[in-house]
């Protein structure tokens, strides 16, 4: 329990740090992005909306601490201002309409990559020097060296444009009515294949190598020798004795990997014009939509922190050593 509380405190500090960063950035930056933004949008906005935005972004005459308190109150009551590029939709609404797609894409890719990667790592370590162990790691490291977005571009070109197997843009065909129909779900699935594939390809190598190296250490433990001496089936020793104990670092990287996947998904979404938060972030950047940028950053951060916290709770369940002190 103490462990959980400590971690919770840590995540709260991390979240506070990211809010404060968000608060300070527009206020202390050299140059003035804010006035650039206003110059572009003033004719479309109501005076009170401009006033609210000025406060949000720090073009404001109040003392700094007062601004800070006001900013915090706004964040925790969910007032992140209105989006400029999709004026006059509130930032929270824009984010809410798109975070689902990112969760779908990132979640699918993360789970597939983690499961397949860990299994491959287990097999590679179990048969050291075997076919999987000697061929896959260099190959996957090589694939992992490519930038996310470049692989996405390659996949889009090869499977989308040349072979025309999968759709290349958006999350579902325009004009299709969203709903729980087979047609719609199949369509969403088809649009998911290429973006998810690229994320899986890039991240699977890390999982596999991490698992392989921990497994090699676990394989030399005495209880493995003991299990062999008892005459247990190799498959049982591999999965129930070795892999099970080598899993712990992988669980930790799962939380870390999530932040990585969110970042990777961001670029992949841009390439495929996939309507998630990453694609929206790019639109926000191009449209100088600072409120939306800040809102997206906070949302992504909060999601990553929350996921890490859940992983910590899971970790306590898995590792009795953490519970005992």
């Amino acid at each position: 329990m103490r462990f959980i509380l400590r971690r919770l405190g840590f995540y709260l500090i991390a979240f506070w740090a990211s809010i404060t960063l968000n608060f300070l950035l527009p206020r202390f930056m050299p140059g003035d992005p804010v006035s650039r933004m206003f110059a572009r949008t003033q004719d479309r906005m109501q005076p009170e909306q401009i006033e609210a935005l000025r406060k949000l972004l720090g073009v404001d005459d109040r003392p700094l601490w007062e601004q800070y308190i006001g900013y915090m109150t706004n964040i925790f009551t969910g007032q992140m201002g209105v989006s400029i590029s999709r004026f006059p939709t509130p930032v929270t609404e824009v984010i809410a309409s798109q975070i689902g797609w990112t969760l779908l894409l990132g979640g699918t890719a993360l789970v597939i990559a983690a499961v397949v990667g860990n299994l491959l790592g287990v097999l590679a370590a179990w048969r050291r020097g075997g076919a999987i162990d000697s061929a896959l790691p260099p190959l996957l490291v090589f694939i992992g060296s490519f930038p996310y977005f470049w692989l996405a571009m390659g996949a889009l070109y090869l499977f989308g444009v040349v072979l025309n197997w999968f759709p290349i843009r958006h999350a579902f065909t325009a004009g299709l009515e969203p709903g729980f129909t087979w047609e719609y779900i199949g369509d969403v699935g088809a649009h998911l294949v290429l973006p998810a594939l690229t994320i899986v390809l890039v991240s699977i190598g890390g999982w596999m190598l991490g698992m392989r190296n921990t497994m090699i250490a676990t394989n030399s433990e005495d209880y493995i020798t003991m299990a062999e001496a008892k005459g247990l089936r190799p498959g049982r020793i591999m999965l129930r004795y070795a892999a099970r104990n080598a899993m712990l670092p992988s669980v930790t990287s799962f939380g870390m990997g999530l932040g990585f996947v969110v970042g990777g998904a961001l670029l992949t979404e841009v390439v495929f014009a996939y309507p998630g938060v990453g694609y929206q972030l790019l639109n926000a950047v191009q449209g100088l939509d600072y409120p939306l940028m800040q809102g997206l950053f906070l949302t992504i951060t909060a999601a990553v922190l929350l996921a890490n916290f859940l992983v910590d709770i899971l970790y306590v369940r898995l590792d009795p050593r953490v519970r005992s002190n």
Binding site: V141, L266, M293, I300
Partner: protein, 312 residues
Amino acid sequence: MTTAILKQPGTTAAKTPAARKPNRSFVHGILTNKKALTGMAVMLVFIALALLAPLLFPGDPSRITAMASMEPSAEHWLGTTAKGQDVLALTVHGSRSSLFVGLTVGFASTFIGILVGLASAYFGKFIDEALSLVTNVFLLLPGLPLLVILAAFLPPGLGTVILVLVITGWAGSARVLRSQALSIRSKDFVAAAVVSGERAGRIMFREILPNMASIVMGTLLACVIYGIGAQAGLEFLGLGDASTVSWGNNLFWAGNEGALLTGSWWVFVPSGVCIALVAFALALINYAVDEVTNPRLRKIKTPKDTDRSASK
């Protein structure tokens, strides 16, 4: 290098007189390691290309000409972009900015990582708590969104790109270096140095740091890889310095000019392959360092492994 030895208690006595010896075997190990040699060869080619770029392709590579979207030919080995620029010239010139930013970011982040890691491990207590907290917060904040938001608010330019990448990149190296420094901090020879009244700076940089050289090298390589990849990502999003020619900017323009949809694969393939080759070469060197210093990962089969494969 010495790290593997130092992990075993009781062998610390060997440190002082034989300090140079494992070092030589490390260099020998690296030079006879196939992965390391391949990686270093690839890196040398790219560094040579970057240095020779103005001689190989004189003139401004981003000059717009009328020969737009031409396929690779004898005249333009890698074809031309939609704006009529020679792709090969763009790629070769791009290596300058990409390698420069990658190396700068790598060295700067590793340097900060060393400072933070050593200070954490040496001083301990409150300083360690505080520094670890900051490190962990930076590690946890999602990197790319943080990059984007920083780059969007800072004035555009190469300096911004480097600064932003260092801000997001140092934490990983700090954490790795701290844990290594901690284990060395608890050795007897460090305690001896403390007792004999050596200054803090001397203990950190002359006693502890030399004993973690291989980890520092691994961290440096990882940071350079990060720098090159993250720069490309940032530029691909249009947040880099659009006036320079770099691999990331080449890809940005390829995407912007619709190279994918028009089928001009030669525009986007070279820059991506270059990033991958450099990252792969650095990763190979990194693995080689790991293999040479960590006996468990070496390829030699232990009797235990042979037994098991024989039993199947």
